[in-house]
Amino acid sequence: SQTIHQWPATLVQPVGSPLSLECTVEGTSNPNLYWYRQAAGRGLQLLFYSVGIGQISSEVPQNLSASRPQDRQFILSSKKLLLSDSGFYLCAWTRRGSNTGELFFGEGSRLTVL
């Protein structure tokens, strides 16, 4: 069976510090990978999307970046965090070529920037 892992689950960081959130998917190959951010009362916003190693599409301009160094690993980073980067970050995957469209989410990483 397929599983998705995200870490850390909770993170408190000062403004201006770097960030690295990691996500790995097990039990599947060549997944499409996604980073979403969830702000209170505002739903989920797609940040980055990847169809393969080293292939990253950014959906919104921001202070964050993403990388996919391995097929099933997706990393969200920042060089200098802003207060507005606080939120609940969710990694997700879909099967390549799926006709059901189901997006499988991880448990999320809650980031608080102080």
Binding site: N32, G43, L44, L46, E102, L103, G108
Partner: protein, 114 residues
């Protein structure tokens, strides 16, 4: 044109009652409309989804109604149970680009009283 508007923001229903959540979209290119359920501290999980070639889809106590001309769709939860208490998100995407590149509504917090 990419927005999905969801209402109400919160909903309180008695056990056994019907819960109704509504969504409206603007982009006529959207052709996949899922609903996700999220429990506190967890990632969202797919509940039910519909494509615009049908007007209704039912799975157990959950029904999606779809009105293509009005660009609206809704989730009905029949015989609501306390275990249904969660946040519900509607979403939309274009299958030709990627199922997983979802535009989400703002979410509805459903509370079902025993």
């Amino acid at each position: 044109q990419q927005q999905v508007k969801q209402s109400p923001q919160s909903l309180i229903v008695q056990k056994g009652g019907i819960s109704i959540i509504n969504c409206a979209y603007e982009n006529t290119a959207f052709d996949y409309f899922p609903w996700y359920q999220q429990f506190p501290g967890k990632g969202p999980a797919l509940l039910i989804a519909i494509r615009p070639d049908v007007s209704e889809k039912k799975e157990g106590r959950f029904t999606i109604s779809f009105n293509k001309s009005a660009k609206q769709f809704s989730l009905h939860i029949m015989d609501s149970q306390p275990g249904d208490s969660a946040t519900y998100f509607c979403a939309a995407s274009k299958r030709s680009t990627s199922y997983g590149k979802l535009t989400f509504g703002q979410g509805t917090i459903l509370t079902v009283h025993p």
